[in-house]
Symmetry: C2
Subunit: 215 residues, 2 copies
Amino acid sequence: MSDAHVPAPTSRREQILKEAARLFAERGFHGVGVDEIGAAVGISGPGLYRHFAGKDAMLAELLVGISERLLAGGRMRVEEGGDSPAAVLDALIDGHIDFALDDRPLITLHDRELDRLREADRKRVRQLQRQYVELWVEVVRRVHPGPSESRARAAVHAVFGLLNSTPHLGRPGSLPGRTEMAELLHRLALGAFGAVDAEVEGAVVEGVAASRRAG
Amino acid sequence: MSDAHVPAPTSRREQILKEAARLFAERGFHGVGVDEIGAAVGISGPGLYRHFAGKDAMLAELLVGISERLLAGGRMRVEEGGDSPAAVLDALIDGHIDFALDDRPLITLHDRELDRLREADRKRVRQLQRQYVELWVEVVRRVHPGPSESRARAAVHAVFGLLNSTPHLGRPGSLPGRTEMAELLHRLALGAFGAVDAEVEGAVVEGVAASRRAG
DNA sequence: AAATGAGGTTAACGCCCATTAACCCGCCTG
DNA sequence: CAGGCGGGTTAATGGGCGTTAACCTCATTT
């Protein structure tokens, strides 16, 4: 999970990153000016250059950071709950939900502004993302051995979309609070995964039966 | 409002919109220049202003257009298959999947660049989106009467996230082809909705039982 | 007490880019 | 064949914005 338990210097740097993340998520990387970011932390304009090489550097640090933390968290959960695959999947889902609910701006940036990065950073982020996906795919396939790998991977992508849907919410009040939301998302994710190999009543789909035989 | 109901010449204008959509989705609204859009359709630069009032106008027309078509399509399906709620939900899901799979750029823009619109257009788009969501909520609640309205709405949002996940795909080849993908997404969506009120084995959640009694 | 450096400030520079001006050409109508 | 006018072109304009320069001021160190 997050390292919130460590007091953390909460230095300028981090404060800036936090505000920048919020602003980037709200109005897009190109849509927010350096002056705005500065204003958000009380200093103004080029003062940011004492802490970062430039606007791009902030985005890069944000995206690499989030990807690393997601992957690290996922690996931790996989190692810890080694007994039951289903329990591991539960843990992965909960972890991702915590992330989506607590760090909305970052989740948003994660798949919105990736292409604004320099080649090197972008490759690194993509690699981390891929590893995270594959982590999930392995666990999902242990719980649901039926479907082919490509189906499992597609399902994982889709469930990420589901879990990351919280940023796109409507007006507050029309939706459940955080704890109920977390529980609901968990259910939805499990329900989706469960449907990957389940035969929809009455209509057995060829591909599924075939891949199950091929196992 | 738009004069889209007129058959439409299918000419320049639409060609421009199509390319603009692609570019906006790829690099973001602020990330793509007018000259690029022009180049994509063979003319260059300010020639676009013979067809649109400005860059903003293109985005506005794209977003309003997509929202209107989604809502119109949804309403049509609801009216047509009036017999079984489950059948209507199936139709809604299929319709949305077709959209997500065929008009990826638009789906992306749909929830990425909404805030770049002028107040009036943005309000219109949001209203259309809300109506579309409520359409789904009603149908879902007919199929799954248990959960509260806010839960149903959250579930709909989440399933949208699931269905719209296709743009974020990895490298081609690691994922199923279009027809298998459509079938898989349909299953996942149904599985998710089915899990909204299903009691996860062993653990009955208070809220669900309560809202079911309250009907 | 002088020196240093971290962290700010405002002013200036320069590029990018949307939009506008001014001008052009070919078609279709009268 | 005159005259619009739809659809383009290139050049100019002007604002926004990232980045750099030059300068300031405390703390802390020596």
